[in-house]
Symmetry: C2
Subunit: 151 residues, 2 copies
């Protein structure tokens, strides 16, 4: 990697988070990352939910691939609720994320567990199982949003 390419990487923002062991250089980076991860997760979950509830045609393979993405994405956002990222960017995170960490962690784990079950259900191709699991997942999303996210 020559200097010119490295400079270009910095300009692209890719290398901007390089220094030190911190995963995010700035609080805004952490906020932007976690919101991005939730956006991708929510988009793919929305497609499963829509299929499970008859809003778009059901396709088992599509449900399965979306569930795989949701399962992977569900693991990503939580490292980015870093100390110092309580404010900044356009975060909607409530102070309770940091003041009630055990409760927040439990809510995150609940979502991840429901998503894992949804992923198992999706592999069966059984729309009834997928519908039930997507309902439970949606409720876990909502519960965490109610407690930890401002509108």
């Amino acid at each position: 990697m020559n200097r010119k390419t490295l400079t270009a990487l910095f300009a692209m923002g890719i290398a901007a988070s390089l220094p030190a062991a911190a995963q995010f250089q700035k609080p805004e980076d952490a906020i932007h990352y976690r919101q991005s991860a939730f956006t991708v997760m929510g988009t793919h979950f929305g497609r499963i939910y829509a299929m499970a509830n008859g809003k778009i045609p059901f396709d088992a393979a599509t449900a399965q691939s979306n569930a795989e993405i949701v399962a992977m994405m569900s693991k990503l956002p939580y490292t980015a609720f870093t100390p110092g990222s309580e404010k900044g960017g356009n975060t909607k995170a409530k102070a309770e994320v940091w003041s009630q960490p055990d409760k927040f962690k439990a809510a995150a784990q609940k979502m991840q567990e429901e998503v894992a079950k949804l992923n198992v259900a999706a592999k069966t191709g059984d729309i009834a199982l997928i519908k039930a699991a997507s309902g439970s997942t949606a409720q876990a999303c909502k519960a965490c949003h109610d407690d930890f996210r401002n509108e």
Copy 2:
């Protein structure tokens, strides 16, 4: 799923993309999604790149898990360069994405191929291989940004 929960889902934005077969209800949704996918991909690629270039300590397992995420994310953004999403949100996409679709597709495939090679390299745990593959990946990122993304 009762009506109350469904209403809550709409309020959360999760159900907002339900209608019809379109994957994105509004151009802004497609723009937000593709930018989010690139943000997550770039964050995890940045960590590999930083390790490969001695900016942060090298850890083989961390490189491997990040490469898995990059590989998965690399497949996601391109469905979201939909007709009608040339403008809107804060997109930086150049008109050439839509006017030179074959060239754009080739640039996307080049990145995906380099990322796939990076994922293979990461599994070896060999930092020299990872450094070489991350350099090639960075150049593929840059080449596409040069041609298809405004600063």
